[in-house]
């Protein structure tokens, strides 16, 4: 049985109420859901961690209504991303009305100053734009899959990602930060 067939089989049992199957399903899908939500809301903030757990709870509560077990991965990512965008939008508004006295600065292992600057620029993008970039560049979803998750057109996905790239490229050049030299060399050769 292929990995995808295995997942479908587990999902079908979870849909039917098998709690052990649901545990296995969450073990398989959970990491991607948690990381996606965390990145959309803003990695390092406690709100992101709460949102990640809320997204998992959304999946647990909604699994019984899923009609097609084969679509479980896309469905779960859609549920989690919807939650993440909702929380991220609320946080953007909240931070305007009630800024924290001193915001928590998250430092990931292996991060250098340049990545920290890029992260700050990324976190300032609108939530939906962040979601598109995360699903395409981190989650490895295709344009069509991303459009299905976000319930929008492929054109909208392309447009959002294009805008995200422009803004982030602007942030990279404004900081005087060129991409890694290996990438520059790879693209330096002209026609």
């Amino acid at each position: 049985m292929s990995e995808s067939d295995e997942l479908t089989s587990v999902a079908q049992r979870a849909i039917e109420g098998d709690s052990e199957a649901l545990d296995r399903l969450l073990a398989e899908l959970g990491p991607q859901l948690v990381r996606t939500v965390r990145l959309v809301v803003g990695s390092g903030s406690p709100v992101a961690e709460d949102a990640a757990q809320e997204a998992v709870i959304d999946v647990i509560r909604g699994i019984g209504r899923l009609r097609d077990a084969r679509a479980v991965r896309a469905w779960a990512i859609r549920v989690a991303t919807a939650r993440a965008i909702k929380v991220a939008r609320r946080e953007r508004l909240r931070s305007l009305l009630f800024p924290l006295a001193d915001a928590e600065e998250f430092v990931a292992a292996g991060a250098d100053a340049r990545l920290g600057d890029l992260k700050r620029a990324f976190d300032s993008l609108p939530p939906r734009m962040r979601a598109v970039a995360i699903l395409r560049l981190h989650g490895g979803l295709s344009e069509r899959e991303t459009a299905a998750v976000l319930r929008c057109s492929v054109g909208a996905v392309k447009s959002q990602l294009h805008d995200a790239r422009k803004r982030l490229a602007g942030a990279l050049t404004a900081e005087g930060l060129a991409p890694s030299t290996s990438h520059v060399a790879e693209h330096a050769s002209g026609p």
Binding site: V34, G44, I57, A108, H138, T173
Partner: protein
């Protein structure tokens, strides 16, 4: 002259940044929240008072009102894992569990059991949940409301849920 990064260069940098900041597989444990501005504290206090009047959950006291509920309710059968987080049991007079959320794993010493998990009306599930089979405890994530007495625990959980 500053050279604009190529599209693939930007994509690679962004992907690298996202991988660096993606964090662990499970949500981090709850921590105590930082202080908020005065306006938010006033709003939270109003919601907490309104919440205790509106929610029909009975929390009885038994003369231990002065002791933190977490101390009064300590138990070896009190560690719950649900949706990627750990919760610990805190004694209350009596709780009326709300909507069913799913199943969790309850640890009692060295044994583990699958148990149904429900929400506590008005309280966010990532702060506290209840077990239909255990009306005498709420299960709280992290140190939230650890200093609350048995009488004030529910109000504290409601206020914590209202905090943005």
């Amino acid at each position: 002259m500053k050279r604009e990064p190529s599209r693939d260069g930007v994509d690679d940098e962004v992907a690298r940044m996202l991988r660096t900041f993606e964090g662990p597989e499970h949500p981090a444990p709850r921590k105590a929240r930082r202080t908020w501005r005065r306006g938010a504290i006033v709003i939270v206090a109003i919601v907490a008072v309104a919440g205790t009047l509106i929610v029909g959950t009975v929390v009885a006291t038994d003369g231990e009102g002065g002791r933190p509920a977490a101390v009064a309710g300590s138990s070896t059968c009190g560690s719950l894992s649900f949706a990627g987080r750990r919760y610990h049991a805190v004694a209350v007079g009596r709780i009326a569990p709300g909507r069913r959320l799913g199943a969790g794993t309850l640890a009692c010493g060295s044994t583990h059991a699958q148990v149904a998990v429900a929400d506590v009306p008005g309280v966010a599930a990532n702060i506290a949940v209840a077990l239909p089979r255990d009306a005498g405890h709420v299960y709280v994530a992290g140190p939230t409301c650890s200093a609350a007495t048995r009488a004030s625990l529910l109000a504290c959980l409601l206020a914590a849920s209202a905090t943005p």
